[in-house]
Amino acid sequence: MRRTLLVAGRVVRQLLRNPRFLVLSVAAPLVIVYLLKIFFDTLPPTFDVARYAVPVAAFLVHFLAFLLCAISLVQERTMGTMERMFINGFRRTEIIAGYVLGFLGLATFQAVAGLAEAIWLFELDYDGETLAMLFVVVWLLAIASVMLGIFISTFARHEGQVFPFVPLIILPSVFLSGLLVDVDELPTWADWLGHAFPLFWANDVIQDVIESGWTFEDVQRSLVILVGYSIALLLLASRTLREVE
């Protein structure tokens, strides 16, 4: 636990001392949500903005949390600090858990900022419980994204090898997670494939709670799956992170 906290503390210190990284991870999603607002303003007033605003904000948090975490970890490998951590006695689980804890703060901030901006810009009127649930689901999605970033980073030897995973994993989720169209309207295989993306389960919760009259039972299953997704990725990453060449 002590070494996990050491890694987490070091990750946080590094994030705070890297303004470019912070600006990219926090300001970029805010700017994109604003661009989305400008785009939606051109559409007819009958267009259901609420159906898309929060899910798109959630997607941005998902994408950036994944990418930034994956790149940070791959940089550890290219710089040689990963090997040095291992030789200094850090264990795989300690490094991974330290990264999760370190990025948790950033993921929380991204979730709060992205969600708050979407709700404010699109003038969405939700009650306190709905807002709380939206925050919880975007936050859980951000954690799953950090886990996904850690897992994918174990397959990359340098930063450039992370990018092929973006069209492989992140972009298909835009079309297959119910973000743009209901998955029921997709062919059966695509519908099934869509269930493999964490964004699908997050979007499922978001669509449920932005409808009035939702109950916790309606979203419980998707939330549990989202948490399970994170745990499964964490376990997988702790198997695939190479300690020895």
């Binding site: 070091r10 210190r13 040689g80 040095r84 200094n88 006695g89």
Partner: protein, 283 residues
Amino acid sequence: MDAIEVSGLTKRYGRVEALQGADLSVDRGEVFGLVGPNGAGKTTLIKGLVGALRPSGGEARVMGLNPLRDRAELRRRIGYMPQSSALYEDLSARGNVRFFGAAHRTPDLRKKVDEAIHFTDLSGRADDPVHTFSGGMKRRVSLACALVHRPEMIFLDEPTAAMDPQLRSRFWKTFRELASDGTTLFISTHLMDEAMLCDRIAILLSGRILTADTPRSILERGKTRLTVEQNGTEEEATIGGHPEDLATALRPYGLRPGVTAIDVETDTLEAVVLSLIEKEEIA
């Protein structure tokens, strides 16, 4: 017990054999140099010894421990300075040293971090971010990270590569200070003048140890060219590199009045090592 015992160590990367049955033993408290050209397998051997690499065959023991099976205990007792700086550039020198030192549950960590920083002559810039440092300063931070927890043995992979002579000399002074306190140092280098500073060296070529001995003994395997000017004529002879060979060769000339000049030219360590490598390659 030897500090390091290696027998028949091999490592294959696909069809490339980086180590082809290396054999080696290193005594405790010595400064041991692993000498070889680029691509000889120096880094692979060091990684095999610190447990960062799974050998394809053979056996290695470091302080009696198996580098893979006993890696938790081994890593408490060794320090490692890799070839790249392997530092967090956004953190300060002190931040880096403290992070790697804390991993070992080092008692009196704050004091030991200060001492490591002082020892590597970084006190003036200890709180500056590493990305503002020159290459030489980064190597000093890297060395401080490797020795902060006071390991019994330190592995240094080309620690002085691309360093100016002044800093290189300072590094070697530091290594000697560590060795005088009983620390075993295992240093890889391709610089022959550095090899001369080691207690013993091993010459690694294509993943195999050609020879391991003191630099002086290896030097004695070279040749000495003797030119004697006597009564206006020059006599040339090539003799062995051992000092006794020279004494024997000079004895006949005694105090002859006709001898007006004697020129002795001995092989350098580099020449001896190159000839050993050439012989091996021909064989």
